[in-house]
Symmetry: C2
Subunit: 345 residues, 2 copies
């Protein structure tokens, strides 16, 4: 059978309990004892049986991150950082993909995977207002996104409206006047889209410009390259006049940028483009993409910190945090000199 703490203890001339104390960093151990134990561990090649520990403590040291699709760059990057942040706290992450399907999002909450983790970082897409009661579950949840809120749950969100306003102001400051807002969806009264559109609207109106409905271009909910390309293509085909695009995420922006260039529009000369999210891809596009960093570094850290603290019972009242955002200058709005000065390092 496997080597146990008892075996290690026998070898070191101590009890299993002392071995446990050494491994778990219990402070009051005579150095000589500790050394003998560590030596025995090495000699016997002892490995902790983590199932036994979990059974005894009731903790697994594992959290779940439930998101729509790992292959969407935004989520891949989020997952990467959540894993790093969790590792720094000794936690292990299990990623679950629900694809924005309601049935799978419900399964995330109650399915058998919940017997494998101590807590859940949850970024739903299909759940929304009216589903709050589903979130009353007997384990800690940290919510991400703008789809659903719950007074008892920690929530890491974004300054969507303020950031969208800043993005629009950036375009206005460069003299752009006919700015497309790509992403608002009239069917959707909740989520990032209406919040970002509100920021756009506020900036435009504060600049003394009437919001032109022809420039508020809805898209389907999956904000990807193809949608961005198709949407801007249709706008051009329809003869709509515009000199800038604020796309509600980077994939839309990059898709639109490709399509505009394919149709001979120069960026930023003819059309300035700004995105939202600050995914890696925008740093390698041609030109580089000006975008909003909604707090890429902070969001995963906060989410993991909150779930960890909640799970360990050291958290205070449920809280809602929205990290600082910042505008990342790129070539797509002619702001690359700033970039060169190191703003994006």
């Amino acid at each position: 059978m496997a080597v146990t703490m008892r075996d290690v203890g026998r070898r070191a001339g101590v009890s299993a309990k002392t071995v446990s104390n050494v491994i778990n960093g219990y402070p009051y151990i005579r150095p000589a004892t500790r050394d003998r134990v560590l030596e025995a561990i090495a000699e016997l090649g002892y490995r902790m049986n983590t199932s036994a520990r979990s059974l005894r403590t009731g903790r697994r040291g594992t959290i779940a991150l439930a998101l729509p699709e790992l292959r969407v760059p935004y989520f891949a990057e989020l997952a990467s950082e959540v894993i790093h942040a969790a590792e720094a706290r000794g936690l292990t992450v299990i990623i679950e993909q629900h694809g924005g399907r309601r049935d799978l999002e419900l399964d995330v909450l109650t399915g058998s995977r919940r017997d494998l983790t101590d807590g859940l970082i949850y970024s739903p897409l299909a759940l929304g207002p009216g589903d709050e009661a589903l979130l009353d579950v007997p384990y800690p949840i940290v919510l991400l996104g703008e789809r659903i809120f719950h007074p008892n749950l920690d929530h890491v969100t974004m300054q969507n409206t303020a950031a969208a306003k800043a993005a629009t102001e950036h375009l206005l400051a460069q003299g752009r006047r006919r700015i497309v807002a790509m992403g608002p969806n009239p069917d959707q009264d909740v989520g990032s889209a209406p919040l970002r559109f509100a920021g756009y609207q506020a900036a435009v109106e504060e600049a003394g410009i009437a919001v032109d409905p022809a420039l508020a271009v809805p898209t389907k909910r999956s904000w990807d390259h193809a949608t961005g390309a198709r949407t801007i293509g249709r706008l051009v085909d329809d003869g709509v006049d515009f000199d800038a695009v604020f796309a509600f995420n980077d994939s839309l922006a990059l898709g639109a940028m490709h399509e505009l260039q394919a149709r001979g529009r120069r960026i930023p000369d003819d059309v300035a483009v700004i995105g939202f999210d600050a995914i890696d891809e925008g740093r390698y596009s041609n030109p580089t993409l000006t975008t909003i960093d909604p707090g890429r570094a902070q969001i995963p850290r906060d989410a993991v910190r909150l779930i960890d603290e909640r799970q360990r019972g050291v958290a205070g009242d449920p809280c809602r945090v929205a990290p600082e955002f910042r505008l990342v200058p790129g070539g797509s709005t002619g702001a690359e000199e700033l970039a060169a000065r190191g703003a994006r390092a």
Copy 2:
């Protein structure tokens, strides 16, 4: 305390063992008994304590997928599929990122995370020939990639040379004669690069063309957009004449494509471009990217199947599999009509 099988059994008028039998699908149970047990489970809200089960069985139902970086699209897509394939077998995946750092790659093999999983799907970048002994570990490993091989380990690889040859032949068939090979690295005698270069070389030579060393363009090891753009830019600056690019992965190809377009070259008219990997991004680029699908659907399925079978002890001799590849036609080589005919659906 939590509800246990004993509690459920008491409620249903049976023993804990019978509850266990019901949950685990043991066949010989009277329907009436089973129904009473299931009812009791529902009434009491019983949840399995998976730590206890793991302690008893010695199995956790968990596998690790160790890869360089989740934020690299190729790996994000691989991870996504591995998770799906694992779920289909009732396995849970833990992703570990080693960043291609040797110290972290070693830690993957021996670190404490190995006490949390039953097996490892391992895609190393820093380990290589000479490190085989490090892979002699007391748990199942399935290797991915071309860096290191081991006679006792299952290995899922690609038909690198044959696929690279097919890619090059595709360009040759369209009358291209000066084909850049982007990615070979003279310092690297092992890995995908030399294998893909061999395929390129074979195709060119079979076409009766001498391989021009000026067209074999080395890159640094991280095959990303920026590298592709920079590399092709330098080639143009140096006045090298070429009418096609075979990039050793899609990110290089997409970076090169951007840069060429930024410099006014038309694709595919002036330069045809083909990549390798078939990542999602190439389906949305302008033009779409012709590429090699090295078996994207099969690789994760085989890897998970092998680790599962090995771990359950139902596997035969260690095996090496390399799925079928296929050429995915796109606009970057003027092959989009094929695409339109449904070849990429």
